[in-house]
Protein backbone atom coordinates (compact mmCIF):
# COMPACT_ATOMS: atom_id res chain seq x y z
CA UNK A 1 0.00 0.00 0.00
CA UNK A 2 1.20 3.51 -0.76
CA UNK A 3 1.43 5.62 2.39
CA UNK A 4 1.02 9.39 2.48
CA UNK A 5 2.89 12.03 4.43
CA UNK A 6 1.91 15.72 4.32
CA UNK A 7 4.38 18.41 5.39
CA UNK A 8 2.79 21.86 5.47
CA UNK A 9 6.08 23.82 5.26
CA UNK A 10 5.46 26.69 7.69
CA UNK A 11 7.10 30.03 6.99
CA UNK A 12 10.02 30.45 9.39
CA UNK A 13 9.78 34.24 9.74
CA UNK A 14 7.95 36.19 12.41
CA UNK A 15 4.64 37.78 11.42
CA UNK A 16 4.36 41.21 12.98
CA UNK A 17 1.81 44.00 12.90
CA UNK A 18 3.90 46.53 10.99
CA UNK A 19 3.43 50.29 11.27
CA UNK A 20 2.30 50.34 7.66
CA UNK A 21 -0.42 47.74 8.28
CA UNK A 22 -1.48 49.50 11.48
CA UNK A 23 -1.77 52.74 9.50
CA UNK A 24 -3.73 51.05 6.70
CA UNK A 25 -6.27 49.66 9.18
CA UNK A 26 -6.55 52.99 10.98
CA UNK A 27 -6.94 54.99 7.77
CA UNK A 28 -9.77 52.69 6.61
CA UNK A 29 -11.45 52.79 10.05
CA UNK A 30 -11.19 49.02 10.45
CA UNK A 31 -12.22 48.06 13.99
CA UNK A 32 -12.73 44.34 13.38
CA UNK A 33 -11.24 41.81 10.99
CA UNK A 34 -12.06 38.31 9.82
CA UNK A 35 -8.59 36.78 9.92
CA UNK A 36 -7.48 34.16 7.38
CA UNK A 37 -4.11 32.81 6.23
CA UNK A 38 -2.68 30.16 3.95
CA UNK A 39 -1.33 27.17 5.88
CA UNK A 40 2.28 28.42 5.85
CA UNK A 41 1.25 31.49 7.88
CA UNK A 42 -1.27 30.25 10.47
CA UNK A 43 1.05 30.66 13.49
CA UNK A 44 -0.55 33.99 14.36
CA UNK A 45 -0.86 33.98 18.14
CA UNK A 46 1.43 36.98 18.71
CA UNK A 47 0.06 38.81 15.66
CA UNK A 48 -3.50 38.48 17.00
CA UNK A 49 -2.34 39.79 20.37
CA UNK A 50 -0.81 42.83 18.64
CA UNK A 51 -4.05 43.49 16.73
CA UNK A 52 -6.08 43.28 19.92
CA UNK A 53 -3.67 45.61 21.73
CA UNK A 54 -4.44 48.07 18.95
CA UNK A 55 -8.19 47.75 19.64
CA UNK A 56 -8.93 45.64 16.58
CA UNK A 57 -11.34 42.81 17.18
CA UNK A 58 -10.17 39.57 15.59
CA UNK A 59 -12.82 37.14 14.35
CA UNK A 60 -11.78 33.58 13.60
CA UNK A 61 -13.47 30.57 12.03
CA UNK A 62 -12.65 27.32 10.31
CA UNK A 63 -13.23 26.87 6.60
CA UNK A 64 -14.88 23.54 5.77
CA UNK A 65 -12.17 21.89 3.70
CA UNK A 66 -9.21 23.05 5.78
CA UNK A 67 -7.64 21.32 8.72
CA UNK A 68 -7.00 24.24 11.06
CA UNK A 69 -8.70 27.44 12.15
CA UNK A 70 -7.94 30.60 10.12
CA UNK A 71 -6.61 28.56 7.21
CA UNK A 72 -8.14 29.27 3.81
CA UNK A 73 -8.00 27.13 0.66
CA UNK A 74 -8.85 28.17 -2.88
CA UNK A 75 -11.87 25.83 -2.93
CA UNK A 76 -13.51 27.29 0.18
CA UNK A 77 -15.13 29.87 -2.08
CA UNK A 78 -18.85 29.58 -1.23
CA UNK A 79 -20.90 31.55 1.31
CA UNK A 80 -21.44 28.33 3.28
CA UNK A 81 -17.73 27.41 3.30
CA UNK A 82 -17.18 28.59 6.87
CA UNK A 83 -18.23 27.27 10.28
CA UNK A 84 -19.27 30.74 11.45
CA UNK A 85 -20.26 33.73 9.40
CA UNK A 86 -17.48 35.99 10.66
CA UNK A 87 -17.20 37.94 7.40
CA UNK A 88 -20.65 39.45 7.88
CA UNK A 89 -19.67 40.61 11.38
CA UNK A 90 -16.29 42.16 10.48
CA UNK A 91 -15.33 45.49 8.92
CA UNK A 92 -12.84 43.80 6.60
CA UNK A 93 -11.10 40.52 5.89
CA UNK A 94 -7.39 40.37 6.69
CA UNK A 95 -5.50 37.69 4.77
CA UNK A 96 -1.93 36.72 5.64
CA UNK A 97 0.05 35.10 2.85
CA UNK A 98 1.41 35.57 -0.65
CA UNK A 99 -0.36 35.21 -4.00
CA UNK A 100 -3.97 35.89 -4.97
CA UNK A 101 -5.47 32.41 -5.40
CA UNK A 102 -6.42 31.95 -1.73
CA UNK A 103 -7.68 35.49 -0.96
CA UNK A 104 -9.76 35.43 -4.15
CA UNK A 105 -11.72 32.54 -2.60
CA UNK A 106 -12.75 35.04 0.09
CA UNK A 107 -14.02 37.41 -2.63
CA UNK A 108 -15.90 34.63 -4.41
CA UNK A 109 -17.54 33.51 -1.15
CA UNK A 110 -19.26 36.89 -1.05
CA UNK A 111 -20.67 37.10 -4.59
CA UNK A 112 -24.25 36.79 -3.33
CA UNK A 113 -23.73 39.36 -0.57
CA UNK A 114 -24.88 42.98 -0.72
CA UNK A 115 -22.62 43.80 2.18
CA UNK A 116 -19.35 43.00 0.40
CA UNK A 117 -16.21 43.20 2.58
CA UNK A 118 -12.82 44.17 1.12
CA UNK A 119 -9.81 41.90 1.56
CA UNK A 120 -6.60 43.36 2.90
CA UNK A 121 -3.74 41.11 1.86
CA UNK A 122 -0.66 41.30 4.06
CA UNK A 123 2.31 39.48 2.55
CA UNK A 124 4.81 39.07 5.40
CA UNK A 125 7.62 37.89 3.08
CA UNK A 126 7.58 40.92 0.79
CA UNK A 127 6.20 43.06 3.65
CA UNK A 128 3.54 44.42 1.27
CA UNK A 129 -0.12 45.36 1.65
CA UNK A 130 -2.66 45.08 -1.16
CA UNK A 131 -6.41 45.46 -1.10
CA UNK A 132 -8.82 43.58 -3.35
CA UNK A 133 -12.53 44.15 -3.70
CA UNK A 134 -15.61 43.11 -5.66
CA UNK A 135 -14.42 44.92 -8.80
CA UNK A 136 -11.54 42.45 -9.00
CA UNK A 137 -13.96 39.60 -9.76
CA UNK A 138 -16.57 41.58 -11.70
CA UNK A 139 -15.60 39.97 -15.05
CA UNK A 140 -15.86 36.52 -13.47
CA UNK A 141 -19.32 37.26 -12.05
CA UNK A 142 -20.60 38.45 -15.43
CA UNK A 143 -19.24 35.40 -17.24
CA UNK A 144 -20.61 33.13 -14.51
CA UNK A 145 -24.11 34.58 -14.97
CA UNK A 146 -23.88 34.29 -18.76
CA UNK A 147 -22.80 30.65 -18.41
CA UNK A 148 -25.71 29.85 -16.09
CA UNK A 149 -28.16 31.30 -18.64
CA UNK A 150 -26.56 29.28 -21.45
CA UNK A 151 -26.63 26.13 -19.30
CA UNK A 152 -30.36 26.52 -18.71
CA UNK A 153 -30.95 26.66 -22.47
CA UNK A 154 -28.56 23.85 -23.46
CA UNK A 155 -29.84 20.45 -24.54
CA UNK A 156 -26.55 18.53 -24.77
CA UNK A 157 -24.16 18.72 -21.85
CA UNK A 158 -20.71 17.42 -20.95
CA UNK A 159 -19.94 16.63 -17.29
CA UNK A 160 -16.23 16.73 -16.40
CA UNK A 161 -14.94 14.34 -13.73
CA UNK A 162 -11.38 14.14 -12.42
CA UNK A 163 -9.77 11.07 -10.87
CA UNK A 164 -7.93 13.26 -8.30
CA UNK A 165 -8.98 11.75 -4.93
CA UNK A 166 -9.99 15.02 -3.25
CA UNK A 167 -11.88 16.33 -6.29
CA UNK A 168 -13.55 13.19 -7.63
CA UNK A 169 -17.34 13.35 -7.77
CA UNK A 170 -18.33 10.63 -10.23
CA UNK A 171 -21.47 9.74 -8.26
CA UNK A 172 -22.65 13.36 -8.26
CA UNK A 173 -21.99 13.48 -12.01
CA UNK A 174 -24.11 10.35 -12.53
CA UNK A 175 -26.91 11.84 -10.38
CA UNK A 176 -26.83 15.04 -12.41
CA UNK A 177 -26.95 13.07 -15.68
CA UNK A 178 -30.12 11.33 -14.45
CA UNK A 179 -31.69 14.61 -13.37
CA UNK A 180 -30.91 16.22 -16.72
CA UNK A 181 -32.42 13.20 -18.50
CA UNK A 182 -35.68 13.78 -16.60
CA UNK A 183 -35.62 17.34 -17.96
CA UNK A 184 -35.28 16.06 -21.53
CA UNK A 185 -31.57 16.89 -21.76
CA UNK A 186 -28.74 14.60 -22.84
CA UNK A 187 -25.52 14.50 -20.82
CA UNK A 188 -22.20 12.72 -21.36
CA UNK A 189 -19.62 12.16 -18.60
CA UNK A 190 -15.95 12.80 -19.44
CA UNK A 191 -13.13 11.53 -17.19
CA UNK A 192 -9.51 12.73 -16.92
CA UNK A 193 -6.85 13.52 -14.32
CA UNK A 194 -6.07 17.18 -15.04
CA UNK A 195 -9.04 19.00 -16.54
CA UNK A 196 -7.25 20.53 -19.52
CA UNK A 197 -9.73 22.98 -21.01
CA UNK A 198 -8.06 22.98 -24.42
CA UNK A 199 -9.63 19.50 -24.83
CA UNK A 200 -13.13 21.03 -24.82
CA UNK A 201 -12.92 22.02 -28.49
CA UNK A 202 -12.58 18.36 -29.49
CA UNK A 203 -16.22 17.80 -28.51
CA UNK A 204 -18.19 20.34 -30.57
CA UNK A 205 -21.50 18.50 -29.93
CA UNK A 206 -21.42 19.67 -26.28
CA UNK A 207 -23.34 22.93 -25.84
CA UNK A 208 -22.38 23.54 -22.20
CA UNK A 209 -19.96 21.94 -19.74
CA UNK A 210 -20.43 21.10 -16.06
CA UNK A 211 -17.33 20.88 -13.88
CA UNK A 212 -17.29 18.54 -10.89
CA UNK A 213 -13.59 19.03 -10.01
CA UNK A 214 -12.02 22.09 -8.34
CA UNK A 215 -14.74 24.79 -8.14
CA UNK A 216 -12.23 27.43 -9.23
CA UNK A 217 -12.40 25.97 -12.75
CA UNK A 218 -16.00 27.22 -12.88
CA UNK A 219 -15.17 30.65 -11.43
CA UNK A 220 -11.67 31.55 -12.68
CA UNK A 221 -10.78 29.40 -15.70
CA UNK A 222 -14.06 30.30 -17.44
CA UNK A 223 -12.47 33.62 -18.40
CA UNK A 224 -10.12 31.74 -20.75
CA UNK A 225 -12.74 29.71 -22.64
CA UNK A 226 -15.56 30.63 -24.98
CA UNK A 227 -17.79 27.57 -24.41
CA UNK A 228 -20.00 27.96 -21.31
CA UNK A 229 -19.00 25.99 -18.21
CA UNK A 230 -20.61 25.96 -14.77
CA UNK A 231 -19.83 24.15 -11.51
CA UNK A 232 -21.92 21.16 -10.47
CA UNK A 233 -23.07 22.93 -7.30
CA UNK A 234 -25.13 25.30 -9.45
CA UNK A 235 -26.11 22.70 -12.05
CA UNK A 236 -28.78 21.08 -9.84
CA UNK A 237 -30.61 24.38 -9.30
CA UNK A 238 -29.37 26.82 -11.96
CA UNK A 239 -32.39 29.13 -11.86
CA UNK A 240 -32.08 29.54 -8.10
CA UNK A 241 -28.33 30.23 -8.48
CA UNK A 242 -29.02 32.87 -11.11
CA UNK A 243 -31.72 34.55 -9.02
CA UNK A 244 -29.44 34.67 -6.00
CA UNK A 245 -26.76 36.38 -8.05
CA UNK A 246 -29.25 38.89 -9.41
CA UNK A 247 -30.80 39.61 -6.00
CA UNK A 248 -27.72 40.03 -3.84
CA UNK A 249 -28.63 39.61 -0.19
Amino acid sequence: MVELLLIDAKWEGKIKLTDELKEHLKKNKIKSVALFASVQFTDLKDFIKELEENKIKVNITKAKRTNEKMQILGCDCYEDSFQDNIIENSDAILYIGDGLFHPKALLLSQIKSKNFKPIIIFDPIANKIKEINKKDIEKQIQKYKRNLKLFINSKTLGILVTIKPGQQYLNSAKNLKEKLKEQGKKAYIFIDNNINLSQLENYPFIQCWVNTACPRIGTDDILNIEKPLINIKEAFEPIKALEELDNEK
Partner: protein
Protein backbone atom coordinates in the same frame (compact mmCIF):
# COMPACT_ATOMS: atom_id res chain seq x y z
CA UNK B 1 12.49 30.47 4.35
CA UNK B 2 9.91 27.66 4.62
CA UNK B 3 10.46 24.85 7.12
CA UNK B 4 10.42 21.71 4.99
CA UNK B 5 11.06 19.54 8.07
CA UNK B 6 13.55 17.37 6.18
CA UNK B 7 14.90 15.76 9.36
CA UNK B 8 11.35 14.69 10.25
CA UNK B 9 10.99 13.36 6.73
CA UNK B 10 14.14 11.25 7.11
CA UNK B 11 12.85 9.87 10.43
CA UNK B 12 9.51 9.00 8.82
CA UNK B 13 11.19 7.19 5.91
CA UNK B 14 13.33 5.17 8.34
CA UNK B 15 10.42 4.45 10.70
CA UNK B 16 8.20 3.26 7.85
CA UNK B 17 11.13 1.46 6.20
CA UNK B 18 10.10 3.05 2.90
CA UNK B 19 12.02 1.80 -0.12
CA UNK B 20 10.77 4.12 -2.88
CA UNK B 21 9.64 7.66 -2.05
CA UNK B 22 7.81 10.07 -4.35
CA UNK B 23 8.11 13.78 -3.55
CA UNK B 24 5.26 16.02 -4.77
CA UNK B 25 5.77 19.77 -4.60
CA UNK B 26 3.70 22.87 -5.40
CA UNK B 27 5.21 24.98 -8.20
CA UNK B 28 6.90 27.42 -5.81
CA UNK B 29 8.96 24.65 -4.20
CA UNK B 30 9.80 22.64 -7.35
CA UNK B 31 13.04 24.52 -7.99
CA UNK B 32 14.50 23.03 -4.80
CA UNK B 33 13.38 19.45 -5.50
CA UNK B 34 16.91 18.29 -6.40
CA UNK B 35 18.18 19.13 -2.92
CA UNK B 36 15.34 17.20 -1.25
CA UNK B 37 16.03 14.10 -3.37
CA UNK B 38 19.80 14.33 -2.72
CA UNK B 39 19.16 14.71 1.03
CA UNK B 40 16.86 11.66 1.18
CA UNK B 41 19.20 9.46 -0.86
CA UNK B 42 22.16 10.61 1.22
CA UNK B 43 20.52 10.00 4.60
CA UNK B 44 18.49 6.85 3.87
CA UNK B 45 18.61 3.76 1.69
CA UNK B 46 15.39 4.76 -0.09
CA UNK B 47 15.23 5.71 -3.75
CA UNK B 48 13.55 9.09 -4.21
CA UNK B 49 11.63 10.47 -7.18
CA UNK B 50 10.02 13.78 -8.15
CA UNK B 51 6.37 14.04 -9.27
CA UNK B 52 6.63 16.05 -12.49
CA UNK B 53 3.06 17.31 -12.71
CA UNK B 54 0.47 19.28 -10.81
CA UNK B 55 0.22 19.72 -7.06
CA UNK B 56 -2.87 21.87 -6.59
CA UNK B 57 -3.34 20.79 -2.97
CA UNK B 58 -3.87 17.75 -0.80
CA UNK B 59 -6.91 17.12 -3.03
CA UNK B 60 -4.49 16.35 -5.86
CA UNK B 61 -2.51 13.16 -5.17
CA UNK B 62 -0.75 10.95 -7.75
CA UNK B 63 -2.64 7.72 -8.37
CA UNK B 64 -1.46 4.31 -9.47
CA UNK B 65 1.92 4.64 -7.79
CA UNK B 66 1.69 1.05 -6.49
CA UNK B 67 2.39 -0.07 -10.07
CA UNK B 68 5.83 1.52 -9.72
CA UNK B 69 6.25 0.07 -6.21
CA UNK B 70 6.32 3.55 -4.66
CA UNK B 71 5.57 2.96 -0.97
CA UNK B 72 5.53 6.56 0.31
CA UNK B 73 4.17 9.75 -1.25
CA UNK B 74 5.35 12.95 0.46
CA UNK B 75 3.47 16.11 -0.45
CA UNK B 76 4.95 19.37 0.81
CA UNK B 77 3.22 22.70 1.26
CA UNK B 78 -0.22 21.38 2.21
CA UNK B 79 -1.99 19.87 5.19
CA UNK B 80 -4.91 17.47 5.50
CA UNK B 81 -7.78 18.16 3.13
CA UNK B 82 -11.37 17.57 4.17
CA UNK B 83 -13.30 16.61 1.07
CA UNK B 84 -16.83 17.92 0.90
CA UNK B 85 -19.31 15.06 0.71
CA UNK B 86 -22.51 15.62 -1.21
Amino acid sequence: MYNLELNKLIQEIKKRNSKQVLIQLPDGLKKGSDKIIDFIEDKTDAKAFIWFGSCFGACDLPLGMDILKIDLIVQLGHNKFNKEVW
